[in-house]
């Protein structure tokens, strides 16, 4: 009924799970040097994949409003309006449309966690439930570290116990958050690190995407280096040293 996701085929071929599924019960980490490059295109990839295979998605947006995500999805030719009944958008920027605005006393992160759980329970059982957090660096600037850690471990428990796929986007250029990034790398099954080209601007390549997949049994990591090129309506991937096709 639902066609497999072929949004970024050059990336999907590098991942161990198939086109028609998201890794249930696992945590995915996307990091980027926020001041140099934007890795949010990966968030759109997994969001589209999760919705196209018939699952539900809860998007906690601390960085952009719904209009931004809708316009990007339109450019990628996968409009959100066609899947709006399965997307639960929580506006954490303006708090509009029953969104969420963090307040230490009245609206802590624990309340957001409870809301995510209620949204998923109301959506019903699904093999492809997805929770996305964009982005954790903004959350760290709002809430104290201890509260953020409790929030992250709550999401981790949600993934393991309820079979939900959790994707967290985070900047890796804040020294004070280096330990938090390392902790997320320990508990995530896949880590996508998006960086800019060290050599500067290139017409054919926008940046580098390091994909580290962890073996679920031995915990050994397999790292692949990919190059990507952002186009108007898609993102092309290729092995490092080759022009993305």
């Amino acid at each position: 009924f639902f066609s497999p996701c072929t949004m970024f085929p050059g990336l999907q071929t590098q991942l161990p799970w198939g086109d028609s599924e998201v890794p249930a019960g696992e945590l995915l980490l996307v990091t980027h040097a926020a001041t140099e490059v934007d890795g949010r295109f990966l968030l759109h990839h997994f969001l589209t994949q999760g919705l196209k295979v018939g699952g539900h998605a809860v998007l906690c947006a601390f960085h952009h409003t719904l209009m931004h995500y809708s316009s990007v999805q339109k450019k990628l030719d996968v409009p959100l309006e066609t899947m709006s009944e399965r997307l639960h958008f929580i506006d954490c920027v303006t708090g509009a449309d029953e969104g969420f605005l963090y307040e230490p006393a009245t609206a802590p992160l624990a309340a957001l966690s409870q809301r995510i759980v209620r949204q998923l329970e109301a959506a019903g059982p699904s093999d492809a439930a997805l929770v996305l957090v964009d982005d954790l660096t903004t959350v760290c600037s709002l809430a104290p570290l201890q509260e953020v850690l409790a929030f992250v471990w709550g999401l981790h428990a949600l993934a393991k116990e309820r079979g939900v796929c959790v994707l967290i986007l985070m900047g890796n250029d804040v020294p004070e958050e280096a330990h938090l990034v390392n902790m997320l790398r320990h508990i995530s099954v896949a880590h996508f690190d998006v960086t800019a080209l060290a050599s500067g601007y290139s017409r054919d390549v926008t940046g580098l995407a390091s994909v580290a997949i962890r073996n679920p049994v031995t915990l050994q990591r397999d790292v692949k280096q990919l190059q990507y090129k952002v186009l108007d309506s898609t993102v092309r991937f290729g092995l490092r040293g080759s022009i993305p096709q």
Partner: protein, 348 residues
């Protein structure tokens, strides 16, 4: 080998930390398999992995601690006392188990260091817990936290990847003792370095006493004050061993293969000689092709040698063809005065 010898005698250590980082997490898996195979019974507290992941160690019990945090939905609904009660209820049917916490980093990041120490002391005092092993991610905590935890443990195994950058440590500190020493042969490749740190314990009558039930980890930790009841300067001394391993696949399992430095040095010298021979053969083949093409009139320049030139060429001795005198180096082993028995160091 020191690390595996320690793991075989882990029942004598009240509290052991297995420390890894993101690059060496697979080493912890291998170590846990070894611990589970040696222990009389192994129970796991699961904070990070699926409970099914622990099935590979054939445990007695896997206590899932994640559900407690899910019920709180991001809060910290349970104090450490509640968690200790959860563990006590699950373990009361067993007489003596090795309790493995995977991972201590999760506990510390959620409850803090003081609460973790309280938790460990309470757990160690449970009647059914014989000894505790904690998995710790040393790239997740501040230096002060690591130093405090290392002082608490009675044995420490730290893994670092060959690509890890070593942080400068304070001279004489426990963290500095955990820094791997440089390898004997820098050119020999390795995957992982391992530092094993133990404290030499007091022996009575030449035999180690069985540890009392529910020992206080702080009294036997690496930071405990040494008791010099006997005139033995080695008591309480920190013993540190650095080893190097390669990760290999054997029988569909990932294993830590220790590097044999003797074989590695022989292979290094043989490889150097083979490389020189191959270079000579390649140069000779190229000269032959050039002369052959010249004899057919296809090359416009002269490469032919006169008789005098050939004699002079044959009399030249190239550097790599010189015979190397056999090495007369001799290695003298001068054990320390208190180190007569090599295995005595591991008597915990």
């Amino acid at each position: 080998w020191r690390m595996f010898s320690l793991l075989s005698k882990l029942q004598r250590c009240p509290l052991t930390f297995i420390c890894d980082d993101v690059e060496t997490a697979q080493c912890t898996t291998i170590v846990l398999q070894h611990i589970a195979s040696q222990a009389q019974g192994c129970c796991f507290l699961s904070f990070e992995q699926h409970c099914e992941w622990f099935a590979q160690f054939h445990p007695l019990e896997v206590i899932d601690m994640k559900e407690a945090f899910l019920q709180g939905c991001g809060e910290l609904p349970h104090t450490c006392t509640t968690l200790v009660n959860m563990v006590r209820l699950r373990l009361e049917e067993y007489s003596t188990v090795t309790l493995v916490i995977h991972s201590a980093s999760a506990l510390i990041s959620l409850f803090g260091l003081v609460a973790f120490r309280t938790f460990i002391s309470s757990i160690a005092n449970l009647s059914s817990v014989h000894n505790v092993v904690c998995v710790l991610h040393h790239d997740v905590h501040e230096e002060q936290v690591l130093a405090s935890l290392y002082q608490l443990s009675s044995a420490l195994v730290t893994f670092q990847s060959c690509s890890s950058k070593l942080q400068p440590r304070t001279e004489g500190s426990v963290l500095q003792a955990c820094t791997p020493k440089p390898p004997l042969l820098p050119d020999v490749p390795y995957d992982v370095s391992c530092v094993t740190l133990v404290r030499r314990q007091l022996q009575r009558g030449g035999k180690a006493d069985a540890p009392a039930q529910g020992p206080d980890p702080a009294a036997h930790g690496l930071g405990a004050t040494s008791k010099r009841t006997y005139a033995d300067r080695s008591v309480g001394r920190l013993l540190s061993f650095t080893e190097y391993f390669q990760l290999v696949h054997k029988d569909d399992r990932l294993c830590l293969e220790p590097i044999d430095w003797k074989k590695a040095s022989q292979a290094s010298s043989t490889g150097t000689r083979k490389a020189a021979d191959l270079a000579g053969v390649a140069a000779g083949s190229l000269a032959h092709d050039i002369i052959a093409s010249q004899s057919h009139g296809t090359v416009p320049f002269n490469l032919q040698l006169t008789e005098e030139e050939r004699k002079a060429k044959d009399s030249v001795v190239l550097p790599y063809t010189k015979e190397v005198a056999p090495s007369k180096g001799v290695i003298y082993v001068d054990p320390d005065e208190f180190d007569d028995d090599l295995d005595d160091d591991l008597d915990i």
